[in-house]
Protein backbone atom coordinates (compact mmCIF):
# COMPACT_ATOMS: atom_id res chain seq x y z
CA UNK A 1 0.00 0.00 0.00
CA UNK A 2 1.14 3.51 -0.81
CA UNK A 3 0.87 6.13 1.96
CA UNK A 4 2.05 9.23 0.08
CA UNK A 5 2.51 9.60 -3.63
CA UNK A 6 3.86 12.45 -5.74
CA UNK A 7 2.62 12.43 -9.34
CA UNK A 8 4.48 14.55 -11.94
CA UNK A 9 4.86 17.11 -9.18
CA UNK A 10 6.03 20.57 -10.25
CA UNK A 11 7.12 22.64 -7.26
CA UNK A 12 8.72 26.00 -6.81
CA UNK A 13 8.64 29.47 -5.39
CA UNK A 14 8.39 32.80 -7.14
CA UNK A 15 10.37 32.55 -10.39
CA UNK A 16 12.26 29.46 -9.28
CA UNK A 17 11.12 25.96 -10.14
CA UNK A 18 12.75 23.38 -7.85
CA UNK A 19 11.10 20.23 -9.17
CA UNK A 20 9.71 19.93 -12.69
CA UNK A 21 7.69 16.74 -12.69
CA UNK A 22 8.95 14.47 -9.91
CA UNK A 23 7.38 11.09 -9.09
CA UNK A 24 7.83 9.38 -5.74
CA UNK A 25 5.88 6.75 -3.84
CA UNK A 26 6.21 6.18 -0.10
CA UNK A 27 5.17 2.71 1.09
CA UNK A 28 2.99 2.41 4.19
CA UNK A 29 4.86 1.48 7.36
CA UNK A 30 8.30 2.44 6.04
CA UNK A 31 10.90 4.91 7.29
CA UNK A 32 12.09 6.99 4.33
CA UNK A 33 14.67 9.75 4.55
CA UNK A 34 15.18 12.43 1.92
CA UNK A 35 18.81 13.47 1.60
CA UNK A 36 20.72 15.81 -0.66
CA UNK A 37 22.87 18.92 -0.69
CA UNK A 38 21.65 22.25 0.73
CA UNK A 39 19.05 23.76 -1.58
CA UNK A 40 18.27 20.48 -3.38
CA UNK A 41 14.61 20.77 -2.38
CA UNK A 42 14.29 18.15 0.38
CA UNK A 43 12.19 20.39 2.61
CA UNK A 44 10.26 21.73 -0.40
CA UNK A 45 9.18 18.21 -1.33
CA UNK A 46 8.28 17.40 2.28
CA UNK A 47 6.17 20.57 2.50
CA UNK A 48 4.30 19.59 -0.66
CA UNK A 49 3.61 16.15 0.85
CA UNK A 50 2.07 17.96 3.81
CA UNK A 51 0.04 20.57 1.77
CA UNK A 52 2.17 23.40 3.21
CA UNK A 53 3.24 24.23 -0.36
CA UNK A 54 0.73 24.11 -3.22
CA UNK A 55 2.09 22.35 -6.33
CA UNK A 56 2.42 24.37 -9.54
CA UNK A 57 1.36 21.25 -11.39
CA UNK A 58 0.82 17.54 -10.74
CA UNK A 59 -0.56 16.31 -7.45
CA UNK A 60 0.08 14.60 -4.14
CA UNK A 61 -2.04 11.65 -3.07
CA UNK A 62 -2.48 10.66 0.57
CA UNK A 63 -3.70 7.09 1.08
CA UNK A 64 -4.83 7.14 -2.54
CA UNK A 65 -6.85 10.37 -2.38
CA UNK A 66 -5.64 13.64 -3.94
CA UNK A 67 -4.70 16.13 -1.22
CA UNK A 68 -6.58 18.94 -2.90
CA UNK A 69 -9.82 16.94 -2.61
CA UNK A 70 -9.46 16.79 1.17
CA UNK A 71 -10.11 19.51 3.76
CA UNK A 72 -7.19 20.66 5.88
CA UNK A 73 -8.77 18.95 8.93
CA UNK A 74 -9.23 15.66 7.06
CA UNK A 75 -5.56 15.79 6.10
CA UNK A 76 -4.58 16.63 9.68
CA UNK A 77 -6.25 13.43 10.89
CA UNK A 78 -4.20 11.30 8.48
CA UNK A 79 -0.89 13.13 8.26
CA UNK A 80 1.19 15.09 10.77
CA UNK A 81 4.11 17.36 10.02
CA UNK A 82 6.78 18.58 12.37
CA UNK A 83 8.04 21.78 10.70
CA UNK A 84 11.69 22.73 10.80
CA UNK A 85 11.31 25.73 13.09
CA UNK A 86 8.17 25.58 15.21
CA UNK A 87 7.63 28.63 17.44
CA UNK A 88 7.67 27.89 21.17
CA UNK A 89 4.66 29.55 22.83
CA UNK A 90 5.06 31.57 26.05
CA UNK A 91 3.87 30.28 29.45
CA UNK A 92 2.67 26.86 28.24
CA UNK A 93 3.06 23.58 30.08
CA UNK A 94 4.42 20.55 28.23
CA UNK A 95 1.04 18.86 28.67
CA UNK A 96 -0.82 21.83 27.16
CA UNK A 97 1.60 21.96 24.25
CA UNK A 98 1.08 18.27 23.49
CA UNK A 99 -2.71 18.72 23.84
CA UNK A 100 -2.56 20.97 20.75
CA UNK A 101 -1.91 17.83 18.73
CA UNK A 102 -5.50 16.79 19.48
CA UNK A 103 -6.94 19.80 17.61
CA UNK A 104 -7.92 18.00 14.38
CA UNK A 105 -9.96 15.50 16.42
CA UNK A 106 -11.73 18.06 18.59
CA UNK A 107 -15.03 19.91 18.25
CA UNK A 108 -16.10 23.38 19.34
CA UNK A 109 -17.79 22.21 22.55
CA UNK A 110 -14.98 19.85 23.48
CA UNK A 111 -11.56 21.49 23.49
CA UNK A 112 -10.81 18.88 26.17
CA UNK A 113 -12.09 15.36 26.79
CA UNK A 114 -10.84 12.56 29.06
CA UNK A 115 -9.93 10.59 25.90
CA UNK A 116 -7.77 13.45 24.63
CA UNK A 117 -6.10 13.71 28.04
CA UNK A 118 -5.39 9.97 28.01
CA UNK A 119 -3.84 10.15 24.53
CA UNK A 120 -1.69 13.09 25.66
CA UNK A 121 -0.57 11.07 28.70
CA UNK A 122 0.43 8.21 26.39
CA UNK A 123 2.36 10.55 24.09
CA UNK A 124 4.18 12.05 27.09
CA UNK A 125 5.05 8.58 28.34
CA UNK A 126 6.28 7.43 24.91
CA UNK A 127 8.63 10.41 24.69
CA UNK A 128 9.80 10.15 28.31
CA UNK A 129 8.30 13.50 29.29
CA UNK A 130 5.83 12.40 31.98
CA UNK A 131 8.06 13.78 34.74
CA UNK A 132 8.25 17.26 33.20
CA UNK A 133 4.61 17.35 31.98
CA UNK A 134 3.68 20.33 34.15
CA UNK A 135 6.81 22.37 33.45
CA UNK A 136 6.80 25.42 31.20
CA UNK A 137 8.12 24.39 27.77
CA UNK A 138 10.44 27.39 27.86
CA UNK A 139 12.41 25.76 30.69
CA UNK A 140 13.12 22.51 28.78
CA UNK A 141 16.51 21.55 27.39
CA UNK A 142 16.91 21.40 23.60
CA UNK A 143 16.56 17.62 23.57
CA UNK A 144 13.48 17.67 25.81
CA UNK A 145 11.86 20.40 23.70
CA UNK A 146 12.41 18.42 20.52
CA UNK A 147 10.83 15.37 22.18
CA UNK A 148 7.90 17.55 23.24
CA UNK A 149 7.33 18.51 19.59
CA UNK A 150 7.47 14.83 18.65
CA UNK A 151 4.97 14.11 21.46
CA UNK A 152 2.61 16.76 20.04
CA UNK A 153 2.82 15.12 16.62
CA UNK A 154 2.26 11.68 18.22
CA UNK A 155 -0.86 12.95 20.01
CA UNK A 156 -2.23 13.79 16.57
CA UNK A 157 -2.43 9.97 16.05
CA UNK A 158 -1.91 9.98 12.31
CA UNK A 159 -0.86 6.96 10.24
CA UNK A 160 1.78 9.12 8.51
CA UNK A 161 4.29 11.53 10.07
CA UNK A 162 6.59 13.94 8.21
CA UNK A 163 9.63 15.29 10.07
CA UNK A 164 11.61 18.21 8.65
CA UNK A 165 15.15 17.99 10.05
CA UNK A 166 14.05 16.77 13.49
CA UNK A 167 17.64 16.58 14.77
CA UNK A 168 18.95 20.03 13.80
CA UNK A 169 20.51 21.98 16.68
CA UNK A 170 20.74 18.85 18.85
CA UNK A 171 23.94 17.27 20.13
CA UNK A 172 24.75 13.73 19.03
CA UNK A 173 23.20 11.91 21.99
CA UNK A 174 19.96 13.89 21.62
CA UNK A 175 19.96 13.24 17.86
CA UNK A 176 20.16 9.53 18.60
CA UNK A 177 17.43 9.85 21.22
CA UNK A 178 15.00 11.45 18.77
CA UNK A 179 15.80 9.04 15.93
CA UNK A 180 15.46 5.97 18.18
CA UNK A 181 12.08 7.33 19.26
CA UNK A 182 11.04 7.72 15.61
CA UNK A 183 12.16 4.17 14.84
CA UNK A 184 10.24 2.84 17.84
CA UNK A 185 7.02 4.62 16.85
CA UNK A 186 7.38 3.08 13.41
CA UNK A 187 7.98 -0.40 14.84
CA UNK A 188 5.25 -0.31 17.47
CA UNK A 189 2.47 1.50 15.60
CA UNK A 190 3.38 0.88 11.99
CA UNK A 191 3.50 4.63 11.39
CA UNK A 192 4.81 5.71 8.00
CA UNK A 193 7.71 8.12 8.49
CA UNK A 194 9.18 10.49 5.93
CA UNK A 195 11.94 12.75 7.17
CA UNK A 196 14.67 15.09 6.03
CA UNK A 197 18.09 14.62 7.63
CA UNK A 198 21.52 16.09 7.01
CA UNK A 199 23.68 13.45 8.69
CA UNK A 200 24.13 10.69 6.10
CA UNK A 201 25.37 8.02 8.50
CA UNK A 202 22.48 8.61 10.91
CA UNK A 203 20.05 8.61 7.98
CA UNK A 204 21.47 5.25 6.89
CA UNK A 205 21.30 3.84 10.38
CA UNK A 206 17.66 4.70 11.05
CA UNK A 207 15.99 4.46 7.61
CA UNK A 208 14.58 1.61 5.51
CA UNK A 209 14.99 3.68 2.41
CA UNK A 210 17.00 6.70 1.32
CA UNK A 211 16.03 9.03 -1.53
CA UNK A 212 18.79 11.28 -2.85
CA UNK A 213 17.55 14.47 -4.46
CA UNK A 214 19.77 16.34 -6.91
CA UNK A 215 18.96 19.10 -9.41
CA UNK A 216 15.22 18.53 -9.23
CA UNK A 217 15.50 14.78 -9.81
CA UNK A 218 15.66 11.60 -7.79
CA UNK A 219 19.33 10.73 -8.21
CA UNK A 220 19.25 7.48 -6.24
CA UNK A 221 16.55 5.60 -4.39
CA UNK A 222 16.79 2.38 -2.40
CA UNK A 223 18.19 0.81 0.76
CA UNK A 224 21.01 2.70 2.48
CA UNK A 225 23.60 0.28 1.03
CA UNK A 226 22.20 0.67 -2.50
CA UNK A 227 22.17 4.45 -2.31
CA UNK A 228 25.25 5.53 -0.37
CA UNK A 229 27.92 4.80 -2.97
CA UNK A 230 31.00 6.94 -3.66
CA UNK A 231 29.57 7.82 -7.11
CA UNK A 232 26.25 9.06 -5.70
CA UNK A 233 28.01 11.03 -2.95
CA UNK A 234 30.32 12.61 -5.53
CA UNK A 235 27.40 13.69 -7.74
CA UNK A 236 24.95 14.78 -5.04
CA UNK A 237 27.32 16.44 -2.58
CA UNK A 238 30.54 16.94 -4.56
CA UNK A 239 32.08 14.81 -1.84
CA UNK A 240 34.92 12.32 -2.20
CA UNK A 241 34.14 9.65 0.35
CA UNK A 242 34.64 6.07 1.26
CA UNK A 243 31.68 4.03 2.50
CA UNK A 244 32.39 1.39 5.12
CA UNK A 245 30.19 -0.83 7.29
CA UNK A 246 29.35 0.63 10.70
CA UNK A 247 31.08 -1.74 13.16
CA UNK A 248 28.09 -1.50 15.52
CA UNK A 249 25.03 -1.77 13.29
CA UNK A 250 26.45 -2.84 9.92
CA UNK A 251 24.76 0.10 8.19
CA UNK A 252 26.82 2.19 5.76
CA UNK A 253 29.08 4.82 7.28
CA UNK A 254 30.26 7.72 5.13
CA UNK A 255 33.91 8.62 5.66
CA UNK A 256 34.91 11.78 3.73
CA UNK A 257 38.37 11.64 2.17
CA UNK A 258 40.95 14.40 2.41
CA UNK A 259 41.49 15.94 -1.03
CA UNK A 260 44.77 14.81 -2.62
CA UNK A 261 47.71 17.17 -2.03
CA UNK A 262 47.92 18.65 -5.53
CA UNK A 263 44.21 19.40 -6.01
CA UNK A 264 42.82 22.91 -6.29
CA UNK A 265 40.52 22.47 -3.31
CA UNK A 266 43.30 21.66 -0.88
CA UNK A 267 45.48 24.56 -2.07
CA UNK A 268 42.57 26.97 -1.49
CA UNK A 269 42.13 25.61 2.00
CA UNK A 270 45.89 26.02 2.67
CA UNK A 271 45.90 29.61 1.41
CA UNK A 272 43.04 30.48 3.71
CA UNK A 273 44.63 28.87 6.73
CA UNK A 274 47.91 30.71 6.02
CA UNK A 275 46.00 33.96 5.87
CA UNK A 276 44.33 33.13 9.15
CA UNK A 277 47.71 32.45 10.71
CA UNK A 278 49.05 35.77 9.44
CA UNK A 279 45.98 37.66 10.63
CA UNK A 280 45.91 35.84 13.95
Amino acid sequence: MIAVEAERLRLGYEQKVVFDGIDLRIAQGSVTTLIGANGCGKSTLLKAFGRLLAPLDGQVRLDGRPLRAMSTTQIARRLAILPQKPLTPAATSVRDLVMRGRHPHQSLLRPWTPDDAGIVDAALAATGLTEVADRDVNTLSGGQLQRAWVALVLAQQTPTILLDEPTTFLDLSHQLEVLRLVRRINAEQGTTIVMVLHDLSLAARFSDRLVVLHEGQVLADGTPWQVLTPQVLATAFGLEAQVIADPVTGSPLVIPLEPSAGSLASSVVRDESEQLVRLG
Binding site: I75, P83, P104, L108
Partner: protein, 355 residues
Protein backbone atom coordinates in the same frame (compact mmCIF):
# COMPACT_ATOMS: atom_id res chain seq x y z
CA UNK B 1 -23.41 13.42 39.94
CA UNK B 2 -21.11 10.42 39.81
CA UNK B 3 -21.07 10.63 35.99
CA UNK B 4 -19.56 14.09 36.17
CA UNK B 5 -17.14 13.01 38.88
CA UNK B 6 -15.92 10.11 36.76
CA UNK B 7 -15.16 12.34 33.83
CA UNK B 8 -13.21 14.95 35.81
CA UNK B 9 -9.44 14.86 35.84
CA UNK B 10 -6.83 17.14 37.30
CA UNK B 11 -6.48 18.90 33.93
CA UNK B 12 -10.06 19.07 32.69
CA UNK B 13 -13.72 18.39 33.25
CA UNK B 14 -16.52 16.87 31.19
CA UNK B 15 -20.03 18.22 31.85
CA UNK B 16 -22.53 16.44 29.62
CA UNK B 17 -21.57 17.24 26.00
CA UNK B 18 -19.13 20.01 26.99
CA UNK B 19 -15.52 19.27 27.84
CA UNK B 20 -13.25 22.01 29.11
CA UNK B 21 -9.67 22.16 30.30
CA UNK B 22 -9.36 23.16 33.96
CA UNK B 23 -7.57 26.52 34.16
CA UNK B 24 -7.82 27.73 37.76
CA UNK B 25 -5.49 30.71 37.32
CA UNK B 26 -7.30 32.03 34.24
CA UNK B 27 -10.67 31.68 35.99
CA UNK B 28 -9.39 33.41 39.13
CA UNK B 29 -7.79 36.25 37.15
CA UNK B 30 -10.96 36.76 35.10
CA UNK B 31 -13.14 36.77 38.24
CA UNK B 32 -10.89 39.28 39.99
CA UNK B 33 -10.84 41.63 37.00
CA UNK B 34 -14.64 41.31 36.66
CA UNK B 35 -15.15 42.29 40.30
CA UNK B 36 -12.74 45.22 39.96
CA UNK B 37 -14.54 46.31 36.79
CA UNK B 38 -17.91 46.27 38.61
CA UNK B 39 -16.46 48.32 41.48
CA UNK B 40 -14.82 50.90 39.19
CA UNK B 41 -18.04 51.10 37.18
CA UNK B 42 -20.13 51.88 40.27
CA UNK B 43 -17.42 54.09 41.73
CA UNK B 44 -17.20 56.03 38.49
CA UNK B 45 -20.92 56.75 38.67
CA UNK B 46 -20.62 57.88 42.31
CA UNK B 47 -17.64 60.18 41.69
CA UNK B 48 -18.44 63.66 40.45
CA UNK B 49 -19.35 67.24 41.39
CA UNK B 50 -22.60 66.29 43.14
CA UNK B 51 -21.21 63.57 45.35
CA UNK B 52 -23.17 60.35 45.63
CA UNK B 53 -22.49 57.37 47.84
CA UNK B 54 -22.22 53.84 46.47
CA UNK B 55 -25.54 52.85 48.13
CA UNK B 56 -27.19 55.85 46.37
CA UNK B 57 -25.82 54.62 43.06
CA UNK B 58 -26.97 51.04 43.62
CA UNK B 59 -30.40 52.24 44.71
CA UNK B 60 -30.72 54.39 41.59
CA UNK B 61 -29.62 51.53 39.35
CA UNK B 62 -32.21 49.33 41.04
CA UNK B 63 -34.83 52.06 40.46
CA UNK B 64 -35.61 52.80 44.11
CA UNK B 65 -33.82 56.13 44.62
CA UNK B 66 -35.34 59.63 44.79
CA UNK B 67 -35.94 61.34 41.45
CA UNK B 68 -32.96 63.75 41.64
CA UNK B 69 -30.47 60.97 42.34
CA UNK B 70 -32.14 58.80 39.73
CA UNK B 71 -31.76 61.53 37.11
CA UNK B 72 -28.08 62.13 37.84
CA UNK B 73 -27.28 58.44 37.83
CA UNK B 74 -29.29 57.07 34.93
CA UNK B 75 -29.38 60.11 32.62
CA UNK B 76 -26.01 61.74 33.21
CA UNK B 77 -23.48 59.29 34.60
CA UNK B 78 -24.67 55.84 33.58
CA UNK B 79 -24.30 56.47 29.82
CA UNK B 80 -20.80 57.77 30.39
CA UNK B 81 -19.79 54.82 32.56
CA UNK B 82 -21.34 52.40 30.07
CA UNK B 83 -19.50 54.14 27.24
CA UNK B 84 -16.22 53.97 29.15
CA UNK B 85 -16.69 50.27 29.86
CA UNK B 86 -17.65 49.55 26.24
CA UNK B 87 -14.75 51.57 24.78
CA UNK B 88 -12.34 49.77 27.11
CA UNK B 89 -13.79 46.33 26.35
CA UNK B 90 -13.73 46.92 22.58
CA UNK B 91 -10.15 48.20 22.59
CA UNK B 92 -8.92 45.59 25.10
CA UNK B 93 -10.40 42.77 23.03
CA UNK B 94 -9.18 44.22 19.72
CA UNK B 95 -5.71 44.59 21.22
CA UNK B 96 -5.71 40.99 22.45
CA UNK B 97 -6.67 39.77 18.96
CA UNK B 98 -4.02 41.89 17.24
CA UNK B 99 -1.24 40.90 19.63
CA UNK B 100 -2.22 37.25 19.26
CA UNK B 101 -2.45 36.96 15.49
CA UNK B 102 0.70 39.04 14.98
CA UNK B 103 2.52 37.14 17.76
CA UNK B 104 3.82 40.53 18.90
CA UNK B 105 3.08 42.05 22.33
CA UNK B 106 3.71 45.54 20.99
CA UNK B 107 1.12 45.32 18.22
CA UNK B 108 -2.18 47.20 18.52
CA UNK B 109 -5.10 47.59 16.09
CA UNK B 110 -3.58 50.99 15.21
CA UNK B 111 -1.09 49.13 13.03
CA UNK B 112 -3.96 47.82 10.90
CA UNK B 113 -4.61 51.41 9.77
CA UNK B 114 -8.07 51.54 11.35
CA UNK B 115 -7.33 54.25 13.94
CA UNK B 116 -5.51 56.60 11.60
CA UNK B 117 -8.22 56.10 8.97
CA UNK B 118 -10.91 56.99 11.49
CA UNK B 119 -8.91 60.02 12.63
CA UNK B 120 -8.41 61.29 9.08
CA UNK B 121 -12.14 60.83 8.42
CA UNK B 122 -13.24 62.60 11.59
CA UNK B 123 -10.80 65.49 11.18
CA UNK B 124 -11.82 65.91 7.53
CA UNK B 125 -15.46 66.10 8.58
CA UNK B 126 -14.74 68.65 11.32
CA UNK B 127 -12.35 70.86 9.36
CA UNK B 128 -13.93 70.77 5.90
CA UNK B 129 -17.48 70.67 7.27
CA UNK B 130 -17.00 73.74 9.45
CA UNK B 131 -15.38 75.59 6.56
CA UNK B 132 -18.53 75.30 4.51
CA UNK B 133 -17.02 73.22 1.67
CA UNK B 134 -19.75 71.15 0.11
CA UNK B 135 -17.79 67.90 0.46
CA UNK B 136 -17.05 68.55 4.10
CA UNK B 137 -20.53 69.73 4.88
CA UNK B 138 -22.01 66.54 3.46
CA UNK B 139 -19.44 64.54 5.42
CA UNK B 140 -20.49 66.31 8.60
CA UNK B 141 -24.10 65.60 7.69
CA UNK B 142 -23.49 61.92 8.32
CA UNK B 143 -22.13 62.72 11.76
CA UNK B 144 -18.55 62.42 12.93
CA UNK B 145 -18.92 58.87 14.34
CA UNK B 146 -20.17 57.52 11.02
CA UNK B 147 -17.46 59.27 9.01
CA UNK B 148 -14.82 58.04 11.48
CA UNK B 149 -16.08 54.46 11.33
CA UNK B 150 -16.14 54.48 7.52
CA UNK B 151 -12.66 56.02 7.39
CA UNK B 152 -11.33 53.36 9.75
CA UNK B 153 -12.91 50.47 7.85
CA UNK B 154 -11.72 51.76 4.46
CA UNK B 155 -8.15 52.21 5.72
CA UNK B 156 -8.07 48.73 7.28
CA UNK B 157 -9.52 47.22 4.10
CA UNK B 158 -6.79 48.98 2.14
CA UNK B 159 -4.08 47.62 4.47
CA UNK B 160 -5.45 44.09 4.13
CA UNK B 161 -5.72 44.42 0.35
CA UNK B 162 -2.18 45.77 -0.02
CA UNK B 163 -0.82 43.00 2.22
CA UNK B 164 -2.52 40.28 0.14
CA UNK B 165 -0.21 38.01 -1.82
CA UNK B 166 -2.14 34.80 -2.22
CA UNK B 167 -2.72 35.12 1.52
CA UNK B 168 -1.86 37.64 4.20
CA UNK B 169 1.34 37.27 6.16
CA UNK B 170 1.02 38.71 9.68
CA UNK B 171 4.40 40.47 9.45
CA UNK B 172 3.63 41.99 6.06
CA UNK B 173 0.29 43.48 7.13
CA UNK B 174 2.02 45.15 10.09
CA UNK B 175 4.60 46.82 7.85
CA UNK B 176 1.92 47.99 5.43
CA UNK B 177 -0.26 49.18 8.32
CA UNK B 178 2.61 51.26 9.72
CA UNK B 179 3.20 52.84 6.31
CA UNK B 180 -0.50 53.57 5.87
CA UNK B 181 -0.73 55.03 9.38
CA UNK B 182 2.13 57.41 8.61
CA UNK B 183 0.51 58.53 5.35
CA UNK B 184 -2.89 59.09 6.97
CA UNK B 185 -1.21 60.91 9.86
CA UNK B 186 0.29 63.26 7.28
CA UNK B 187 -3.15 63.87 5.78
CA UNK B 188 -4.60 64.61 9.23
CA UNK B 189 -1.78 67.06 10.00
CA UNK B 190 -2.32 68.81 6.67
CA UNK B 191 -6.03 69.22 7.43
CA UNK B 192 -5.22 70.61 10.89
CA UNK B 193 -2.72 73.10 9.49
CA UNK B 194 -5.25 74.36 6.96
CA UNK B 195 -8.08 74.53 9.52
CA UNK B 196 -9.43 77.61 11.26
CA UNK B 197 -8.58 77.92 14.93
CA UNK B 198 -11.94 76.76 16.36
CA UNK B 199 -12.08 73.77 14.00
CA UNK B 200 -8.49 72.82 14.74
CA UNK B 201 -9.28 72.99 18.44
CA UNK B 202 -12.37 70.79 18.04
CA UNK B 203 -10.42 68.32 15.90
CA UNK B 204 -7.58 68.18 18.44
CA UNK B 205 -10.11 67.46 21.19
CA UNK B 206 -11.46 64.57 19.14
CA UNK B 207 -7.94 63.27 18.35
CA UNK B 208 -7.05 62.91 22.04
CA UNK B 209 -10.03 60.69 22.83
CA UNK B 210 -12.68 61.74 25.32
CA UNK B 211 -15.84 60.45 26.97
CA UNK B 212 -17.14 63.96 27.57
CA UNK B 213 -20.79 64.44 26.54
CA UNK B 214 -21.12 60.85 25.31
CA UNK B 215 -24.67 59.47 25.08
CA UNK B 216 -26.46 56.14 24.75
CA UNK B 217 -26.53 56.65 20.98
CA UNK B 218 -22.74 56.11 21.00
CA UNK B 219 -22.91 53.12 23.32
CA UNK B 220 -25.30 50.87 21.37
CA UNK B 221 -23.07 50.37 18.30
CA UNK B 222 -20.22 49.25 20.55
CA UNK B 223 -22.44 46.82 22.47
CA UNK B 224 -23.77 45.47 19.17
CA UNK B 225 -20.27 44.84 17.81
CA UNK B 226 -19.19 43.26 21.12
CA UNK B 227 -22.30 41.05 21.07
CA UNK B 228 -21.54 39.85 17.55
CA UNK B 229 -17.84 39.37 18.32
CA UNK B 230 -18.37 36.91 21.17
CA UNK B 231 -19.89 33.96 19.23
CA UNK B 232 -17.46 34.51 16.35
CA UNK B 233 -14.48 34.49 18.70
CA UNK B 234 -15.64 31.31 20.43
CA UNK B 235 -15.18 29.57 17.08
CA UNK B 236 -11.72 31.11 16.61
CA UNK B 237 -10.27 30.63 20.12
CA UNK B 238 -8.57 27.30 19.35
CA UNK B 239 -7.08 28.79 16.20
CA UNK B 240 -5.65 31.72 18.16
CA UNK B 241 -3.91 29.24 20.46
CA UNK B 242 -2.58 27.12 17.57
CA UNK B 243 -1.34 30.25 15.81
CA UNK B 244 1.31 30.69 18.49
CA UNK B 245 3.14 27.66 16.98
CA UNK B 246 3.58 29.43 13.63
CA UNK B 247 1.66 29.27 10.36
CA UNK B 248 3.07 25.95 9.12
CA UNK B 249 2.32 24.09 12.33
CA UNK B 250 -1.17 25.61 12.45
CA UNK B 251 -1.95 24.33 8.95
CA UNK B 252 -0.47 20.96 9.84
CA UNK B 253 -2.86 20.75 12.80
CA UNK B 254 -5.85 21.46 10.58
CA UNK B 255 -6.34 25.23 10.89
CA UNK B 256 -7.47 27.09 7.76
CA UNK B 257 -4.98 29.87 8.53
CA UNK B 258 -6.02 32.48 5.97
CA UNK B 259 -9.73 32.26 6.76
CA UNK B 260 -8.98 32.37 10.48
CA UNK B 261 -6.72 35.41 10.06
CA UNK B 262 -9.30 37.29 7.97
CA UNK B 263 -11.97 36.68 10.64
CA UNK B 264 -9.69 37.74 13.50
CA UNK B 265 -8.48 40.89 11.73
CA UNK B 266 -12.04 41.71 10.71
CA UNK B 267 -13.35 41.44 14.29
CA UNK B 268 -10.43 43.49 15.65
CA UNK B 269 -11.03 46.20 13.06
CA UNK B 270 -14.79 46.36 13.74
CA UNK B 271 -14.25 46.57 17.50
CA UNK B 272 -11.67 49.33 17.08
CA UNK B 273 -13.79 51.27 14.60
CA UNK B 274 -16.77 51.12 16.98
CA UNK B 275 -14.72 52.37 19.94
CA UNK B 276 -12.84 55.08 18.05
CA UNK B 277 -15.94 56.45 16.35
CA UNK B 278 -17.64 56.75 19.77
CA UNK B 279 -14.84 58.28 21.85
CA UNK B 280 -11.99 59.13 19.49
CA UNK B 281 -8.66 57.30 19.54
CA UNK B 282 -8.23 56.69 23.29
CA UNK B 283 -4.57 55.71 23.31
CA UNK B 284 -2.69 52.75 24.77
CA UNK B 285 -5.75 50.77 25.98
CA UNK B 286 -5.44 48.17 23.21
CA UNK B 287 -1.77 47.82 24.06
CA UNK B 288 -1.82 47.86 27.88
CA UNK B 289 -5.00 45.91 28.72
CA UNK B 290 -4.11 42.61 26.96
CA UNK B 291 -0.61 42.68 28.42
CA UNK B 292 -1.89 43.22 31.96
CA UNK B 293 -4.51 40.49 31.53
CA UNK B 294 -1.93 38.05 30.15
CA UNK B 295 0.39 38.66 33.10
CA UNK B 296 -2.48 38.16 35.57
CA UNK B 297 -3.69 34.95 33.93
CA UNK B 298 -0.24 33.57 33.10
CA UNK B 299 -1.30 32.38 29.64
CA UNK B 300 0.44 31.77 26.31
CA UNK B 301 -1.53 34.57 24.65
CA UNK B 302 -3.67 37.45 25.99
CA UNK B 303 -6.89 35.92 27.40
CA UNK B 304 -9.87 37.39 25.52
CA UNK B 305 -12.46 37.87 28.28
CA UNK B 306 -9.93 39.14 30.82
CA UNK B 307 -8.43 41.54 28.23
CA UNK B 308 -11.85 43.06 27.52
CA UNK B 309 -12.58 43.42 31.25
CA UNK B 310 -9.14 44.90 31.92
CA UNK B 311 -9.69 47.41 29.12
CA UNK B 312 -12.95 48.45 30.79
CA UNK B 313 -11.21 48.83 34.16
CA UNK B 314 -8.41 50.98 32.71
CA UNK B 315 -10.75 53.32 30.80
CA UNK B 316 -13.19 53.68 33.70
CA UNK B 317 -10.41 54.35 36.19
CA UNK B 318 -8.74 56.80 33.82
CA UNK B 319 -12.07 58.59 33.38
CA UNK B 320 -12.49 59.00 37.14
CA UNK B 321 -9.01 60.54 37.26
CA UNK B 322 -9.82 62.70 34.22
CA UNK B 323 -12.82 64.16 36.04
CA UNK B 324 -11.23 64.61 39.46
CA UNK B 325 -7.52 65.40 39.08
CA UNK B 326 -7.85 69.05 38.00
CA UNK B 327 -10.68 71.58 38.39
CA UNK B 328 -11.51 71.40 34.68
CA UNK B 329 -12.06 68.02 33.01
CA UNK B 330 -9.10 66.44 31.21
CA UNK B 331 -9.82 64.24 28.15
CA UNK B 332 -9.52 60.59 29.17
CA UNK B 333 -7.08 59.92 26.32
CA UNK B 334 -4.48 62.13 28.02
CA UNK B 335 -4.72 60.08 31.22
CA UNK B 336 -4.40 56.76 29.35
CA UNK B 337 -1.37 58.10 27.48
CA UNK B 338 0.24 59.19 30.75
CA UNK B 339 -0.32 55.69 32.17
CA UNK B 340 0.38 53.79 28.95
CA UNK B 341 3.54 55.41 27.65
CA UNK B 342 5.72 54.57 30.67
CA UNK B 343 4.33 51.03 30.57
CA UNK B 344 5.39 50.70 26.94
CA UNK B 345 8.91 51.90 27.79
CA UNK B 346 9.09 49.53 30.77
CA UNK B 347 7.99 46.62 28.59
CA UNK B 348 10.58 47.48 25.93
CA UNK B 349 13.35 47.70 28.51
CA UNK B 350 12.31 44.43 30.17
CA UNK B 351 11.84 42.50 26.96
CA UNK B 352 14.31 39.67 26.48
CA UNK B 353 12.84 37.80 23.52
CA UNK B 354 13.12 40.51 20.86
CA UNK B 355 12.41 38.83 17.54
Amino acid sequence: MSGVELKARRDGIMLGPVGLPWRPRVLAATAVVAVVAALVFAGGIAAGSSGLSLPDVLAALAGVADSATSFIVTELRLPRAAAGAAVGACLGLAGALTQTFSRNPLATPDILGVTSGAAAGAVAAIVLGGGGYSVGASLLGFGIPVVAAVGGLVAAGLAYGLAWRGGVDSYRIILIGIGLTASLGGLTSYLLVRAQLTQASAASQWLVGSLSGISWASVWPMLAVLGCAVPVLITQAAGLTLGQLGDEFSVSLGLAVQRHRLIVIGVAVLLTAAAVSAAGPVGFIAFVAPQLAQRLAGTARPPLVASALTGAVVVLAADVLARSLLPGEIPVGIITAVIGAPYLIWLLIRRKDVR
